[in-house]
């Protein structure tokens, strides 16, 4: 029998997660409900964190965005202050499923889901976001770049709850782009995706890439493209990304097909950020 626990404070939620044998945090439920229906998930104790007010808070400022774990994905896409501070992340959140699912899916549940095909992590990797988590042992911070540890696996402990995600402000002169390649329908899971961000610091130009659906985990890489014309920067980016691709074949395409789409996604995303830069 399913038991839905509905704590009203973080302390209470952490206690429940520590005491119950095999409890699972319930965020928006959009992933959990499907897994339950498919008979993949049997957990009886669900800890619904929707009644904890602090998990819905959003703070935006010159440093970036801090979004509580229960903030809907759709708010990340539409909130004007978030769009200004981290435009690449906002745009990428807007690619998750459809507006209806985005209304219910949450920022915390999205990363905790740990799926290698998720869109938002590609941008969060590039922007070097941080995940804040809590347990009875106290709070801790995890870099998104160290969060995805294996196929459907994250660095989160079983009794930990994500409380917020912090995304550092995108530098105002940094150009970002997210490209998603889907083979079944426009708002389906991708066969391949790439987020790109071009930053300039002390005359050094760095191209950051986040890859989705192209390996058992979302992948991050950065390369120095200082002084390179677009064509060279793009071919170096494709050459650096290709060895990191190890796509899982499924109904959305074979491994080869996804790798080829992955290279197209990298080429498009990298070209666009480089071109905007050179035109600026």
């Amino acid at each position: 029998m399913t038991m839905l626990h509905r704590p009203e404070s973080l302390d209470e939620a952490c206690m429940l997660l520590a005491e119950l044998d095999d409890a699972q945090v319930y965020g928006g439920g959009t992933a959990i409900e499907i897994l339950r229906r498919q008979g993949i998930l049997f957990t009886e104790d669900l800890v619904d964190v929707s009644r904890i007010p602090e998990l819905r808070a959003v703070e935006t400022g010159p440093d970036g965005v801090r979004a509580g774990a229960m903030v809907p994905v759709r708010r990340m896409e539409t909130d004007p202050a978030i769009r200004r501070a981290v435009p690449l992340a906002a745009r990428t959140y807007g690619h998750v499923a459809n507006p209806r699912v985005r209304n219910t899916a949450t920022v915390g549940g999205n990363v905790a889901h740990g799926d290698y095909r998720l869109d938002p992590p590609t941008a969060l990797l590039v922007l070097d976001a941080t995940i804040e988590a809590r347990s009875v042992r106290g709070p801790r911070s995890l870099a998104v770049r160290e969060f995805f540890t294996g196929f459907q696996e994250t660095a989160l402990e079983h009794d930990e709850v994500i409380t917020a995600i912090t995304v550092p402000a995108q530098p105002t002169d940094a150009v970002g782009r997210f490209v998603k390649m889907s083979s079944l329908s426009a708002n389906d899971w991708p066969s391949a995706s790439a987020a790109a961000l071009l930053t300039t610091e002390d005359g050094r130009r760095t191209l950051h890439l986040g890859l989705g659906a192209l390996a058992p985990v979302p992948v991050h890489l950065s390369l120095d493209v200082s002084g390179m014309p677009t064509e060279r920067a793009v071919s170096e980016a494709m050459a650096a990304a290709e060895p990191l691709m190890d796509p899982i074949p499924d109904v959305r395409g074979s491994s080869d097909y996804k790798r080829r789409l992955g290279l197209v996604a990298v080429r498009e995303a990298a070209t666009d950020v480089c071109e905007e830069r050179t035109h600026a």
Binding site: T2, R6, N98
Partner: protein
């Protein structure tokens, strides 16, 4: 088991539910809201769309208990002269009709957020809904017509 109360299309219902009961089943079986339909059951088709405080939700992925006290609008609760429904009829957007309540509710959300959508906005907001009869062109036209009708009233 627990007891929740829902306001569905303006009427209050009290329902006895298990912790795993889905909003979709409670609405259909306990509130008689049969305009809410099950298609895919996994958030991908939109047939089960309802508005909770004006926001679209796939009721097939929603645990009923979390909606205790919520105000829910389904297509059956719309007034007879609803601009969206009228436009769907006038544009011939309905074939078998199974998907239509979901499209109508998504259109309502869109028009509340953006009273003057263009074709692209309509597609972007509704493209998570599936019509097996394929009346997409008529549905697009109906939503744009509803926006105009609303502005004129």
């Amino acid at each position: 088991m627990s007891r929740i109360s829902l306001v569905v299309d303006g009427n209050r219902y009290v329902a006895e539910i298990t912790d795993s009961a889905l909003l979709l089943d409670v609405l259909r079986e306990q509130a008689g809201a049969t305009g809410v339909r099950e298609g895919c059951g996994v958030g991908a088709c939109g047939a089960c769309t309802v508005l909770v405080d004006g926001v679209s939700v796939s009721s097939c992925l929603a645990l009923a208990e979390r909606y205790d006290g919520a105000r829910i609008t389904t297509a059956s609760g719309l007034p007879a002269d609803d601009e969206v429904v009228e436009s769907f009829v006038e544009c011939g957007a309905t074939q078998c009709g199974y998907c239509i309540p979901g499209f109508v509710m998504m259109a309502h959300e869109l028009l509340t957020e953006n009273p003057e959508p263009d074709k692209e906005d309509v597609v972007r907001h509704l493209d998570g809904n599936i019509c097996r009869c394929g009346t997409y062109a008529e549905i697009r036209r109906a939503v744009l017509a509803a926006a105009e009708k609303r502005r004129a009233r």
